[in-house]
Amino acid sequence: MAELWLLSLLLPVFGALLVLPLCRYATLSAGIAAVTTVLAAIPGVYVAMSLLNGQPPISIAYAWSLPGGALQIDVDAVSAFFLLPVFILSPLCAIYGGAYLHQVKGKLLGVHWAFFLLLVASMVLVLSAGQVFLFLVAWELMSLTSFFLVAFDHQNKEVKQAAWVYLVASHLGVTLLLGFFLYSSQWSGSLFFSDFEALRAIPQHQATGLFLLAVAGFGIKAGLFPFHVWLPEAHPAAPSHVSALMSAVMVNLGIYGILRTVTWLPQAPAWWGLLLAGFGIAGALYGIALAAVQQDIKRCLAYSTVENVGIIFVGLGVGIYAVAAGFSAVALLAFAGALLHLWNHSLFKGMLFLGAGNLVHATATRNMNQLGGLMKRLPATSMLLIGGSVAITALPPFNGFISEWLIYLGLLHGGLEMPRAMGLPLLLLVSLLALVGAMAILVFVRLVGISVLGNPRSAAAASAHEGSILLLAPPAILLAGCVLIGLNPLPVLDLLRAPVVLLIKTELLPMLTLTAFTGLGRGVWLLLALIAGMALLFFVQRHRHPAVVAATWGCGFALPNNRMSYNATAFSELAHNHLLPRTLRPEVVTAPVTTFFPQAVQLSQQSSDPVLNRLLQLFFTRIANLCQRLRWFQQGRLPIYLLYIFLTCIGLMVWSLRVFGGG
């Protein structure tokens, strides 16, 4: 087992070393990346599956010359749960990426692939690290490699800016994590995670401090509202296979960190759970509301990631809340729903980013207003996008529905069984989740309807055509996973048993309500059968009486052209003027009409992230202004700096005399 795990870690590293000298050869390096990730995935998936099926955890220790003991590797069921998406998504993204970057000229693609492989290896290492140093090094490596992947198109000013925001955000996160790990290893007296058991005795207010540090530090990576600001910047900027890997896999590792923290700290009080669920639902509402006003298809998907991470946190928060209140059946449903949603999100968000990548690849634009009519030109991609959209809006019979249904069941059971005041927040969450669900329909009907259906709104869209099979197979495989989980959820839920046991920490696990699943299964199969039957009837009828094909009814207007058709901005106008709060509305820039004979006017609409632009920007500008006052330190003359060194030395001497007593 341990050897297999090692193989899955070292193969990508080996691939990266192999790619670097060959970086001139684009196809070769893409091929090496694909082959090594596939080869790494085979033992990786095997290890993860056997751990999820109840094999004992892997624990390896290597001698290390650094202070703080050994290079400790611990892989348990929780790690395995998070490792599985890494090993499934990374080969698919690598295969896809090779074809996606095929047109790119004038770049050393090998360097890109080396960073890609190192990112995969560092994610595996983050999930397996059993020691603080190793964890932080892997974490930092993950942030840096993904930064370079985001900055792929760094000549572009927007991309540069996005990569910069990402770098700053992830380093702020690392700073918080450094504080968190320093304090916890100080308290437990060890750098090994296995000794963090000692933290269970930590006083409550310190535990709360640690918890908040972890939520903020890991929350930045997870895209938890309000720490999500890098996400809508970095995802559209990166190449699509990188966006897919980051959104579907890397974001999960932030959630992993928070979950690990919760298992280390003493029994979580109920309000921690409510806090997480509150951040979660706020993020879900915020994310989906802003997704509704984006014109950039990948930015829209990035905001949808914020939404789905929010939903996952609602499930986790409710689970923690229910454990604290002693309702382990509710906790089981909520945790199982949240974890399943995490897997589901990896599948459908990976799929959607790859599918959106196909549109970008074919038309060279991410602006939905420039797309349209692609169902006729890219039928396979369009069909995949529709399938992915149905899955992500949690509609039956796809997988998203199963996980959201479990979360709903947890909320409903909790809301009805807990005493009044305790149940009320859960009942409110039910309705807010329903609101999120309805808005998700708005967002994804818009995404599909505007960018894929209808008429092409630009010349690029009109002349687009489908790419190679390598661009289609990876998203198709992911969509197949969505359908499989949707139609047959029980085997997958069985895999969640081991991580959930580690999280609830009780051996007495009530069984999932299996009777409900048979009922649900019946309903879903009946739905499919009826749809199939009706479609067949429809088809036969259409075959007998072929339809007359004519132009779309233009309500009497004889010459409608494609630019008159509804676009993304128009579709969301009603929502952003009458549904969203004022702060979330996009800025509309237009000149007023002044003369009697109006001249040509331009109207443009741009949505910026309110948290980034109105909150953080102000805060950091303030700090930057304060720092300006320290400018006088920098005199720019050598003697002054020598004086600083001299003064520091004196200061240190005085301090050491005082502390060590002149001995």
Partner: protein, 304 residues
């Protein structure tokens, strides 16, 4: 169970188009006209099913998926609710979520089919439909939560089952009354009725649901009309079960009571459509937010 399903489906398929006729007759009565035959929708469906169709050259398979799913969804949803005292043949813990999300599935494909034509009018209708239902969804959830809290169950069969009679008599009457109002408003929104939408107007600009189906014709249009009628009956059943919680020992009488309740509901819709004007589009969200608040209040009353 299979027999139960067949009875449910037969009842639904045979009875639903009648309601549209009753609404039309009620409106005609108010306007002083004789009106169309009560069975007009049955004739329309038969006629449309035999006709050929014209489809837009822009459309793809999504255009056909709209009517198909719009017709299938109410059929499945109907299996999860009791018709009067006739128990739901498909019932499990948490089926209320499936109920709500099934209608969301129908909405997704109806709106996608509308956008598939590339017509800006239909795009407008699709945008309105999905936007307004964002506000209707929390209301229906809160209403179901009130019922769940009162009945202590999580399947619609229990939510709309025997407990209602006792709940009305007990202290929960006001809360039930409030959610009855809320559900009636949701029924009007979801079935695109005045004051939220006007199924009979000829101005595409003012419509919501009807404008989405402008391009459908022949059998596809029949499916849409039939689907709308079924949806009216399914959502109406929620209200009728809630408002008429009496059961007699005779099942035939119970069934008649239920069907009479549906007819009464249809007449009520007809009256509302006759005496009210259509709301301005921008007022609709305000009304819906109002009903959401009422339903929250009902939930608070129950939790008190």
């Amino acid at each position: 169970m299979i027999v139960g399903m067949l009875i449910h489906l037969l009842l639904l398929l045979l009875f639903a188009p009648l309601l549209a006729g009753i609404i039309a007759r009620t409106k005609a009565l108010f306007a002083g006209r004789r009106g169309q035959p009560v069975l007009q929708l049955y004739f329309d469906l038969l006629r449309l099913a035999r006709k050929g169709s014209v489809i837009s050259k822009t459309t793809t398979w999504v255009f056909a998926a709209g009517p198909v799913i719009g017709l299938v969804v109410p059929l499945i949803a109907a299996l999860m609710i009791p018709f009067g005292t006739l128990q739901a043949p498909l019932s499990f813990d948490g089926d209320l979520i499936l109920f709500v999300y099934l209608f969301a599935l129908a909405r997704f494909f109806t709106a996608a089919a509308a956008l598939d034509t590339g017509s800006s009018f239909e795009g407008m209708g699709a945008a309105r439909e999905v936007t307004f239902s964002c506000l209707a969804e929390p209301t229906i959830m809160f209403a179901l939560l009130v019922l769940a809290k009162l009945s202590g169950g999580l399947s619609l069969d229990i939510l709309l089952g025997d407990h209602l009679n006792a709940s009305w008599r007990g202290g929960s009457g006001p809360a039930l009354g409030l959610i009855l109002v809320c559900l009636f408003v949701v029924l009007l929104v979801e079935n695109s009725r005045i004051p939220f939408d006007d199924p009979n107007t000829h101005l595409e600009l003012t419509m919501i649901h009807e404008v989405m189906v402008l391009d459908h014709s022949g059998p596809a249009f029949a499916m849409i009309l039939y689907g709308a009628a079924l949806k009216l009956m399914v959502l109406g059943t929620l209200i009728v079960n809630l408002a008429l919680p009496w059961a007699t020992p005779w099942w035939a009488l119970n069934l008649l009571l239920y069907l009479a309740g549906l007819v009464l509901l249809a007449m009520l819709i007809g009256i509302v459509e006759s005496v009210m004007a259509r709301l301005r589009l921008v007022r609709i969200p305000q009304v819906l937010i109002g009903t959401t608040l009422i339903s929250v209040f009902a939930l608070v009353l129950v939790l008190r």
